[in-house]
Symmetry: C2
Subunit: 282 residues, 2 copies
């Protein structure tokens, strides 16, 4: 497996691969990889000839009060895991190369970035779209794989690809969960064992709502939301709910009644850590 | 010569060319081609295997009160000229395909887009950087050629390429002029023959200042600017000067004394038409 740290070298290698007719798959990550990331790499491997996994903790998608400095890192472990999952190239650029002092260009998706995650984290998506555009330009992928866990991010990035005409197929892979249902996330390591038990509240709220929809035919989102809040508070009384949203899967527009294209997504702050999750009910 | 109107087809053709190891040169234009554009195509031809010339009158770089509707068009003539200049592919996308109703993604270069052209035309550069990013993604060029006449645009686009890591070599080709010195522009056709004579005032002001710098060793930009205003007003009393700027060639920062890296650029409104031009003095 090849490790590349220079932007120029990565561009050269990608150009060479393209000129050999190789199909390139890209899996952008912020490192500290878990089974969720590895499932994306394996998925990319099935769909392309060469898989590039990028590791870059992207400063522009963190707000000043967020966890950039303490965001967990484990480069050696990550490289080992990527190799085992079948990755071909790991791209690990330096922050000073990605964002030199005089950096002043941003890619912005309007509209759908204003709500939910964008409301709590106003500059977050601009950071995400900018870094992903840069990674696309550097690695020139045919396919890019992202996780369903960051559902709004996936919708925003698909919109960017469509609007800016990137010739890239966007693949959104299902969320991988721990045994108790907690969605895998690098941030899960912030919890003590006791706190960790309470993090199941997001999954339980989602599956509780799904049960009401499927078994009891309750479609009103106001009722469902109340029920979900109750479930969360019962499991974790100190939980602060950022939002519980029922939206159209493709447009992110809120719906009052659950239908086959609805997705429920939520963000909850637990013991100082903000977790997100989502689920479709059909 | 191949004419392509579909974005998807253009993407496919570019991918194929890349997989054959062909070097792609891109010349983005708004059509109504003159000798200036053709010089860019010939330059691209020297530097690449396949030259793609795009024709697209880009609505997002015009303000509502600008000349989008009356901007001159001549598709048939353009195609003939591109063929003669050695172009290989003409890409002519439809506005409805480039900007569908729900379009909501923009590429923005901050800072250097706020002054000069950006001050008079606040949304102009956002439109330029967005359309050029789209054209880059569709055609995947190795080289892109732009004209020196739109000097600030060239600096802004070079900044976009650097910041977003496009693997593209940016070539800025010299301004082509009419016999009397007027920089070639599709907008020159707006003038009546009498008005057309007065348009030489931009060139005369620039060469007048150059003479003062080179022969009389006058470097103070305040003095030079006063002299240039006088020249313009003598030739065309109704001229409205938007700006006469002396800036660093690379950073666009204003300078008080002309030095070897200074460029003088100006924008003048003549009989309802806004013209720009620029010149280096060494």
């Amino acid at each position: 497996m090849k490790i590349i740290r220079s932007i120029k070298q990565m561009q050269r290698v990608s150009r060479e691969l393209a000129s050999e007719g190789k199909k390139i798959g890209l899996v952008p990550t912020m490192g500290f990889l878990h089974e969720g990331h590895l499932s994306l790499i394996r998925r990319a491997k099935k769909l392309s000839d060469v898989v590039i996994t990028s590791i870059f903790v992207n400063p522009t998608q963190f707000a000043p009060d967020e966890d950039l400095a303490r965001y967990p890192r484990d480069e050696k472990g990550d490289i080992r895991k990527i190799d085992k999952a079948g990755g071909d190239i790991v791209f690990i650029p330096k922050a000073a190369d990605m964002y030199p002092d005089e950096f002043q260009t941003y890619v912005t998706v309007e509209g759908i970035t204003q709500t939910f995650e964008g409301e709590s984290r106003p500059t977050h998506f601009r950071g995400v779209t900018t870094i992903v555009a840069k990674l696309f330009n550097i690695t020139q992928p045919d396919i890019a794989v992202f996780g369903q866990k960051d559902y709004q991010q996936a919708v925003v990035l698909k919109k960017m690809v469509t609007d800016l005409d990137y010739p890239i197929r966007m693949v959104i892979a299902p969320t991988v969960r721990e045994k108790d249902g907690l969605a895998m996330s690098s941030r899960n390591k912030y919890f003590t064992p006791d706190q960790r038990k309470e993090t199941v509240c997001l999954y339980r709220a989602l599956t509780g709502a799904r049960k009401m929809v499927k078994n009891e035919k309750i479609y009103g989102t106001a009722v469902l939301r109340r029920k979900m809040k109750k479930i969360i508070k019962e499991i974790c009384p100190v939980a602060e709910i950022d939002y519980i949203a029922f939206t159209d899967y493709d447009t992110l527009k809120p719906v009052k009644e659950v239908n086959r294209n609805t997705i429920c997504s939520l963000a909850v702050r637990l013991h100082g850590v903000r977790l997100i999750d989502n689920m479709r009910f059909y």
